[in-house]
């Protein structure tokens, strides 16, 4: 008789699982939220307070001072606006493009499909640093230096997003449905826009979150291309860190405020994202 099959053993295992596992999971979950909480705490202290704080969670009194310092050192709200423009435009367009490509790769059988899919996977593996210089040259050549356009357009085609959509279409959109629409006389594009798009909603929500976060956090390209009042918030805060008498309180407050939109997007859409992934992404 196997010990795993013993009834008493099973019962005690269940009791252990109920509380022990839950505690363990909650502990791990706490570590993910801790940095945010801690940055709130840190942003209320002044320079000396931060260096002497250690890991205590006591709130300071210098929040307003830090905020004023932040506004003095950077054009904070301009940066936020620029980041928002780039992230929103890029996300909306990329939802459209990625779903088109993913749908096409999943549904049609055409010459070169596997080649395109393979190239896509390969291009995902090449680190982005490699193409930075040629990217700079192209942008310069097209006369797009210091424009937001040059920052978000290249990322509207995200191989990762195409992969995600393709996987979702393969797993959860029945081919019979598409064929039925075709028999009723719908054109290819109409099938995509009126039948497939609504069904893709959950995976597109996920894609939108990933894209928004990526574009918001994107550091390399804006650093190379944007300057002055076109710069995004991430590069602004980073350049603040580089100065000799860097005001840590203001920097931490700035990075926390720049994280807020991401946290908001996540809190609003996390249910949708998870339910989307759980509802039928797997065959």
């Amino acid at each position: 008789m196997n010990i795993f099959d013993n009834a008493l053993f099973q019962k005690s295992i269940y009791a252990f699982l109920k509380y022990g596992v839950l505690a363990f999971l909650i502990l791990f979950a706490m570590t993910t939220i801790f940095p945010f909480v801690y940055s709130i705490v840190l942003s209320t202290h002044d320079q000396e307070g931060i260096s002497s704080l250690g890991v205590s969670m006591g709130l300071g009194i210098d929040l307003v001072e830090n905020y004023n310092e932040l506004l003095q050192r950077t054009a904070f709200w301009t940066g936020i606006t620029n980041s928002a423009i780039i992230a929103i435009l890029g996300t909306v367009i990329s939802i459209f493009f990625c779903s088109m490509c993913g749908y096409s790769l999943a549904v049609y059988k055409f010459k070169g499909r596997n080649v395109i899919f393979g190239i896509m996977l390969l291009s995902m593996m090449i680190p982005p640093v490699l193409s930075l210089i040629p990217y700079f040259l192209i942008v310069d050549m097209l006369g797009l230096m210091n424009t937001h356009f040059a920052v978000w357009v290249p990322f509207t085609i995200a191989p990762m997003g195409i992969f995600l959509v393709r996987q979702y279409v393969v797993a959860s959109i029945p081919k019979d449905l598409l064929e039925a629409a075709k028999l009723d006389g719908a054109g290819e594009f109409r099938i995509y826009s009126t039948i497939v798009m609504p069904l893709l909603k959950p995976s597109l929500a996920t894609l939108a979150i990933i894209q928004f976060v990526f574009l918001w956090n994107n550091f390399l390209q804006p650093l190379v291309i944007l300057e002055g009042d076109k710069a995004v918030i991430i590069t602004m805060i980073r350049s603040m860190q580089g100065t000799p008498d860097a005001p840590m309180g203001a920097i931490i407050l700035g990075s926390f405020l720049s994280m807020l939109p991401l946290i908001l997007v996540f809190v609003v859409s996390s249910k949708q994202m998870i339910s989307g992934l759980t509802s039928g992404a797997v065959k």
């Binding site: 940055s39 210089i133 509207t156 976060v213 990075s255 998870i274 797997v282």
Partner: protein, 283 residues
């Protein structure tokens, strides 16, 4: 039927037009340029025009072998890939199983907390966490490349574990309930159900997720960026490109070998079945 196939083909390409244009501009052209530059001498601080570029044959490729950091960083990246993929998948499977057997009410909240590091991975939280992880496990002066890779993979895996946990969790949910119930009626324990029913069910997803995680890890491998930075500071783009291409080639060969082995080991039975049913079906 033949006619339908043809319309299919052309509309498939129409859907792929945005991808192809973006691919040409964002991927193919930059990579070709950097491949061209890898055979030239060109300094970053002079404009990219005729007289500044000097053809030096394969000299750049020969020079990189003298570079002391080359093999160390290659080893670092390979070890980093292996360790981080191992950590991510073993932990994600464990977490997914634990969450799926924990109390139903808290599952959603725990999952949301789990994917926070993946979704909201800003520079602010990330860099801090990675540095912190590095300092805890790694002493840059005394420790060798193996410990460095381990500590890097631990701190980077932390971001990605939640995402894969979510994926595995939803696959676990999709395992047919009646099979599990039948097994439990026959006296199978949780561990037995997991090993003999759920894990085989997950097999296909695991292979797919291995590909995905390797791609993600390639993008965030730090050994690569560290050495590239040196070249960037010196400004010798020819050497930098030659270095990156050699590096990427070697790492891709490694990944492809691993994937081929995995594919044929894990998916053999499935492939044979597919061949019998439909020769054109692909993974």
């Amino acid at each position: 039927m033949h006619k339908l196939d043809k319309t299919n083909q052309s509309s498939a390409y129409k859907f792929l037009v945005p991808f192809l244009i973006a691919f040409l501009l964002v991927n193919l052209f930059p990579y070709l340029t950097s491949f061209y530059v890898s055979f030239q001498y060109w300094s970053l601080y002079t404009p990219f025009i005729g007289e500044n570029i000097e053809f030096v044959k394969a000299e750049n490729y020969l020079l990189i072998y003298d570079e002391r950091g080359f093999f160390a960083s290659l080893l670092n990246v390979l070890l980093f890939l292996v360790f981080s993929v191992f950590i991510i998948h073993s932990l994600a499977l464990l977490f997914a199983k634990l969450i799926s057997i924990s109390a139903k009410k808290t599952q959603g909240i725990i999952l949301i907390a789990f994917i926070v590091p993946f979704v909201v991975n800003t520079n602010a939280t990330n860099v801090g966490l990675i540095e912190m992880g590095l300092f805890i496990f790694y002493d840059p002066i005394n420790d060798g490349v193996i410990l460095k890779s381990i500590s890097e993979s631990i701190s980077i895996s932390y971001q990605f574990v939640g995402f894969f946990t979510l994926i595995y969790y939803m696959v676990l949910k999709s395992v047919p309930k009646n099979i599990i119930e039948a097994a439990q009626l026959d006296g199978a324990s949780i561990a037995r159900v997991f090993l003999s029913i759920e894990l085989p069910h997950l097999k296909r997803m695991i292979v797919m997720m291995l590909v995905l995680s390797m791609i993600m890890m390639m993008q965030s491998a730090r050994g690569f960026v560290d050495i590239i930075n040196v070249f960037f500071r010196v400004g010798d783009m020819g050497l930098a490109s030659a270095f990156s291409w050699t590096f990427i080639f070697l790492v891709l060969v490694f990944i492809m070998t691993v994937l081929l082995i995995l594919k044929y080991r894990l998916l053999k039975s499935r492939l044979v079945k597919y061949k019998r049913v439909n020769k054109k079906e692909v993974l």
